[in-house]
């Protein structure tokens, strides 16, 4: 496209039906402990 550049390919909706395996890291276990940020965790489904 000439006027729009889309930065990502994934559609979050596709992950709703298939997601929820629960293997990814709890966000507070990585670094925060005071400020919840969930979107920066890695999906672990492939490595399960």
């Amino acid at each position: 496209m000439k006027h729009i550049k889309t930065l990502n390919e994934a559609n979050l909706k596709n992950t709703a039906a298939k997601g929820g395996c629960g293997e990814c890291q709890a966000s507070c276990q990585s670094a925060c402990k005071t400020s919840c940020t969930v979107a920066n965790q890695k999906c672990e489904r492939k490595s399960k």
């Binding site: 889309t6 298939k18 890291q25 709890a26 507070c28 276990q29 005071t34 919840c36 920066n40 890695k42």
Partner: protein, 458 residues
């Protein structure tokens, strides 16, 4: 729902419910001011005759066609059909634990939410027996979860390092039998690090969080020792030694910024200049009456700092040196699934904290609030009603979150902060929301700038 903003020369459009992120030109950006779904295949007549009459018909058609294509493909104004999934939320296995091996500390940090280490309940170390019971508890309650996370926390966990080692050894001895993989983290202020502890941590801990607030004067003002002297000189070289011999394993040098260092980007960059590239420097969470607390008046200064930091991270990346800043980490393609994002942090449901006395709380920040105690490891008790309560704290249970553009990134914020500063787990702490939204805008902008850079290099 979309969220659009301009930052650092980029026009950015986030389609909230698909997660699509688009960088658009000025005319396309302006068109979005006048478009609401459902979109027609042809641009509104007013675009030609009124709003964009300075542009040619071809230009208007081109831009609109591209917008319509995104809309048609479900990447613009996509519908919110997630609520059905949030209603399916059930109690999860417990697979992550914050183990408070020491309610004691050798620093007297002014902003400590743990009341300088003892959480207001007296200085105490966990026994190895209680630590092992905590492992048994995780094994018993983790169902089919393979990866179990355990963070050695305090107070200062190195003050009880023998127990840390015994707990690790005990957990490792159970991994095969139970088909589990323990991932250990330790969060330390570094004061008691020595060669042996560094070797042990680098061997056994999959992540280590090293506390440092930044520049010496900033760190030492808020993180003094018991005698009032600073901690910076003692810990920086130890951190270098630890990180230098750690290989590829995860670590974070983690700091806190307060009203005293609203120029905190200097602290982030200082830590990077010390040789660390995995960083997290986070806003202090404190009662508004504290001198060092961040307040609404500080937001413009903090926003400027985040923008400045984002631009500097881009500059350093272009020069080949990276900073992985925790709050700007975002993977637009392979991030967590929608279910994880709906559920949020998981405190009280899949994540709990355990005190030296064996008491179970929803998370480390709830420790000491008697009314939120969930049971006791040594007594084998667990309040399933409370667990169920926390399993229903999704973003669709939080009225302010439901219609917020950032909901799939912060996932409803920190439940403990919400309770302490907004009065309820179900109402987000507004100041935290504002900071989170700004960080997200910066994080996405960094992606746009780096993609731009790649295009230029092609």
């Amino acid at each position: 729902m979309i969220h659009k903003y301009r930052l650092n020369g980029y026009n950015i459009v986030l389609d909230v419910h698909s997660g699509g992120v688009h960088v658009v030109d000025d005319l396309t950006y302006a068109m979005l001011n006048y478009i609401t779904p459902p979109l027609e295949e042809q641009a509104p007549q007013s675009f030609y005759s009124d709003y964009f009459s300075d542009y040619s018909v071809e230009e208007i058609d081109e831009c609109y066609e591209e917008l319509y294509k995104l809309y048609h493909n479900g990447l613009l104004f996509s519908e919110d059909d997630y609520e059905q999934f949030s209603r399916q939320m059930v109690s999860s296995p417990i697979k992550a634990m914050c183990l408070h091996v020491a309610h004691d500390c050798n620093l007297r940090c002014n902003y400590c939410f743990a009341s300088t280490g003892d959480f207001g309940h007296g200085r105490k170390l966990m026994t190895a027996e209680t630590g092992k019971h905590a492992i048994d508890f995780l094994l018993e309650h983790s169902g089919d979860r393979h990866n179990l996370e355990l963070d050695f926390f305090g107070g200062e966990p190195l003050m009880n390092f023998d127990v840390v080692k015994q707990v690790v050894e005990y957990a490792r001895s159970k991994e095969k039998e139970y088909n589990k993989n323990f991932r250990f983290t330790i969060t330390t202020n570094g004061m008691l690090l020595d060669d042996a502890k560094i070797d042990y941590i680098n061997k056994e801990m999959s992540n280590v969080v090293l506390s440092l607030d930044g520049r010496k004067q900033v760190n030492d003002r808020m993180r003094p020792r018991v005698d009032g002297s600073g901690s910076y000189d003692k810990i920086v070289n130890r951190y270098r030694q630890l990180v230098g011999s750690r290989g590829d394993k995860d670590y974070y040098v983690r700091g806190t910024f307060t009203k005293y260092n609203l120029d905190f980007s200097k602290d982030v960059l200082h830590i990077n200049d010390l040789g660390f590239d995995q960083l997290s420097v986070e806003p202090v969470v404190a009662k508004p009456e504290e001198d060092y607390a961040l307040t609404e008046q500080d937001l413009p200064a903090i926003f400027n700092e985040y923008e400045h930091l984002a631009k500097e991270i881009i500059n350093r990346k272009k020069k080949g040196s990276g900073i992985n800043f925790f709050h700007f980490m975002i993977d637009l393609n392979q991030g967590p699934c929608a279910i994880k994002r709906l559920r949020g942090c998981g405190c009280g449901n899949e994540y709990v904290a355990v005190t030296p006395e064996g008491d179970i709380y929803p998370c480390h920040q709830f420790v000491g609030m008697e009314e939120w105690k969930m049971g006791n490891i040594d007594e084998g008790t667990l309040d399933l009603e409370k667990k169920d309560y926390f399993s229903k704290t999704t973003i669709y249970d939080k009225p302010e979150c439901k219609n917020c553009w950032a909901k799939f990134y912060c996932s409803g914020g920190c439940n403990a902060n919400n309770l302490q500063y907004a009065g309820s787990v179900f109402h987000p702490h507004e100041l935290s929301c504002e900071l989170e939204k700004k960080r997200l805008e910066c994080a996405i902008m960094i992606k746009a700038a780096l993609a731009d850079q790649e295009d230029q290099n092609d």
